[in-house]
């Protein structure tokens, strides 16, 4: 009985931690997006927009190193994109934390399942699927 209570307690702790992680991830990324948005609008607000046809985007919105350089150069769109990447990273971090949580619960079946989910996401990142 004591053991079951302990397990439930741990489960709840991990769930709370994950809940906070999601909240802070969203808040942080949205702040970065809004900040980049203000810079972008300040600089390019009067440009003519055209999103009617798909064009290849500049490197600094798609690749790690050019993006970082864009952020350091205070490019609005690069900062927005950094915020979006932080946002995408939030649920992925949740999966990582779940794996750690299951490990502490000694639920190795679910450690395996969680790692499998991470593997699928890693494949989509580095599998060259962008074509």
């Amino acid at each position: 009985m004591k053991q079951a209570e302990d397990k439930l307690l741990k489960d709840k702790d991990i769930q709370h931690l994950i809940g906070s992680l999601l909240r802070w991830g969203v808040l942080l990324s949205m702040t970065v997006v809004a900040f980049g948005g203000i810079i972008y609008l300040y600089r390019h607000g009067h440009n003519v927009s055209d999103y009617s046809t798909f064009k290849l985007q500049p490197d600094f919105t798609r690749e790690g190193w050019p993006l970082l350089q864009g952020v350091l150069a205070f490019k609005g769109r690069a900062i927005i994109q950094l915020g979006i990447i932080l946002l995408i990273a939030t649920p992925i971090m949740r999966v990582v934390f779940s794996a750690i949580g299951f490990f502490f619960e000694k639920d190795y079946l679910y450690v395996l399942i969680t790692v499998l989910v991470l593997g699928v996401i890693m494949f989509s990142m580095f599998g060259g699927l962008a074509g």
Partner: protein, 277 residues
């Protein structure tokens, strides 16, 4: 149109989409995509990329409350995420090869289906019958309610898993959370109480969308200038919606929105069929 004017229009539209999406349970993405493509003539790939980002924001933002209440079934969600993430990647790959008009038609069909699903009666089913596979995977659980913990069993794991692959493909292909399809898998097939299925599906949506978003990002479908007003607007709208939802649960309102969303869906199908998109 200048960037500034367009950004303001999109923020207002995305706010409305997030609000309606939250009140109906459809999600903001399925409403913002027709707004962007039909009204503002945005390329559907950009619209899908921006919507996908907003899906991650609303899912992660609202999951906080549910996770803390202990309604979300983490094991079930994680297990089914194998299906949804694999599906999402497949969907993102198909999106590159499928002609735009078919994407528009498919989107319209899924939108109508989701609108119909949002009107269904929610029956709280909870019994402790579980299948052997569900027992092995420890999927059955319980959730807190006014009358104490309610235990429930999970059935037909394989059927639910296959349905989740399909939901994942639609999510990756159309840039939506496909919450309606996820609920079909969990409510209809696996016989989980709707309180658990809605929160668990919401929980899974963020991870599923992240899997295809990384592909979209590398491909350049996520245009920052467009994604910025979409994600901020939808998130604020969804937040407002969640505050209102507590006070108003009007059926008339749900029917009204379902009709509006269906009109948007028919427009998408029409544009797809005539090749005007």
């Amino acid at each position: 149109m200048s960037v500034l004017v367009l950004t303001v229009i999109i923020i207002v539209g995305a706010y409305a989409a997030g609000l309606v999406g939250s009140l109906t349970g459809l999600g903001g993405a399925v409403v913002i995509i027709p707004l962007l493509t039909i009204l503002l003539r945005v390329d559907i790939h950009y619209a899908i990329g921006a919507a996908l980002v907003s899906v991650i924001a609303t899912s992660s933002g609202s999951a906080v409350a549910y996770v803390k209440q202990g309604i979300t079934n983490m094991r079930l969600g994680m297990f089914l995420e194998i299906a949804t993430t694999s599906g999402a990647i497949t969907g993102a790959i198909i999106a590159q090869y499928l002609p735009v008009k078919y994407i528009a038609i498919l989107f319209g069909i899924v939108l109508i289906f989701s609108a119909l699903m949002s009107l269904r009666k929610k029956i709280s089913q909870a019994d402790t019958i579980e299948s052997p596979l569900s027992h092995k995977l420890k999927l059955s659980s319980s959730y807190p309610s006014g009358d104490g913990e309610i235990a429930y069993g999970v059935r037909n794991v394989a059927g639910g898993f296959v349905m989740m692959i399909f939901a994942g493909v639609m999510s990756g292909l159309l840039g939506i959370g496909s919450g309606a399809l996820k609920v079909v898998a969990m409510d209809g097939i696996m016989r989980i109480p709707f309180k658990v299925s809605t929160t668990t599906s919401n929980f899974m949506i963020g991870v599923t969308a992240a899997a295809s978003a990384v592909v979209y990002l590398q491909r350049g479908y996520i245009e920052p200038g467009l994604a910025m007003p979409v994600v901020l607007g939808v998130l604020l709208g969804a937040f407002t919606g969640s505050k209102i939802l507590v006070h108003a649960q009007s059926n008339k309102l749900r029917y009204f929105f379902a009709v509006i969303v269906s009109i948007l869906a028919v427009q998408m199908i029409y544009k797809g069929v005539t090749g005007a998109i």
